[in-house]
Subunit: 275 residues, 2 copies
Amino acid sequence: MAEPFRERLRRAIEVHGPLCPGIDPSPVMLERWGLDDSATGAREFALRYLDALAGRVAVMKPNVAFFEQYGAAGIGALEAFVFAARDAGVLSILDAKRGDIESTNIAYARAWVGDDSPLAGDAVTLSPFLGARALAPFVEEAASSGRGVFVVARSSNPEGREVQLATTAAGASLEASLLEEVARRPSVVGAVVGLMAGAPPLPLPKDAFYLAPGLGSQGAGLADLAGQFGGLTSTPVVVNLSRSLAVAGPDRAALADAAARAQGEIAGVLRPSSG
Amino acid sequence: MAEPFRERLRRAIEVHGPLCPGIDPSPVMLERWGLDDSATGAREFALRYLDALAGRVAVMKPNVAFFEQYGAAGIGALEAFVFAARDAGVLSILDAKRGDIESTNIAYARAWVGDDSPLAGDAVTLSPFLGARALAPFVEEAASSGRGVFVVARSSNPEGREVQLATTAAGASLEASLLEEVARRPSVVGAVVGLMAGAPPLPLPKDAFYLAPGLGSQGAGLADLAGQFGGLTSTPVVVNLSRSLAVAGPDRAALADAAARAQGEIAGVLRPSSG
């Protein structure tokens, strides 16, 4: 049995801190880095970013959309990143937001958390519109391969509120009822809990693990991070920064400096005792 | 301005009928067809299926998961199908269930409904857990390229009920409130409305267009199809069959016969006047 993802994540955070740089090779960012708007450009972006931050961060999060926009060639670039990250000892969360009916999820799980797949990093994000229980094939495959899944409970965009705050037949909000599902398999299943400026914090099971997008260019601040995650000092939480970090590149030293600064600011909120 | 997807779909249904064969190259089905559990096997499966049914069906629906399970090579196989379907005059709905925050959806929209993308068929399915309004980049890109999107309102699996029947702040079910959003852009935005044995029908805007999964091996019958879509004789509705059709293959004539039989049964329910 492979070591659970949650434990691998916890150890990596202890060594490097909670920052999770996002790899979003958008046309605008590629141009800024002097790279082509192509699969080759996306590959270069991801590998240079990894090279600048390996040994300095626990985990990185490629956003699959920005590779998929180049078709199969872009997915090939993502495979190159997955391979290189494993080689460099950096955990990878593939931000794919996949999710379908159960029989289809068997195939998606094979792709994203299966042992023999070139696309399987260490964890994947999942979208539960077709039901949390329909995600079972991901959970089973991830448990056996030592990988993890992050189910979106609360996204970081205001448009998500109408859906995620809808009330189930049992009387809970969808975001709260999803977290109950998450807490059933805490070593394999975590949640995406987005930060929004001024949003009331969502009560979270302490046993799970979390990915928090929304800080920085998306508009939430350190106070929002503190309000949502400040009380969970022993729970693995990783905090995503994408654009606001990538603009420091492509210079390696500037990227490393920006990451170190963000690492310190975030750890100051999440792990005040170690700060 | 390209011709709206809804009109292209309507015309194709008038010529060929409402059947939408699903292309799901699962390991079990590949073995049944004597093909490898590989990207090459999936490519062969999709192209042979297309070859058997071109000229006999309006539209086919590859399920992206069963290509993605082979990584970039599998996505390459899907690109080969998309190209071949266009060449054969068969519309293609790419069943991808994509959906994220708006800035990420710009990249997904480029992939699935953008004019220069090797993955862009004629339409794509979308999952709205991060908010229907966040899907705007798909709608804009599809409107300008003459493509369409199908937003999942009701999936065909029982696990989806808890989410899709949750109640919004305005007092409607999520599935009903999503259909209101759909009705705002009827020539570009349609909905996935799944069939389930015995489920009460969902009231549908007549102006939109629909994809109905769930018939056959998933458990719903012609009576469920009639109950949901029987009254919409002038609305474009396509009905998906996957496993229950694919088991007739790989023999071309047997597949064509099975498709013709299904075409007749479904048209008998949806278009009784033309039967």
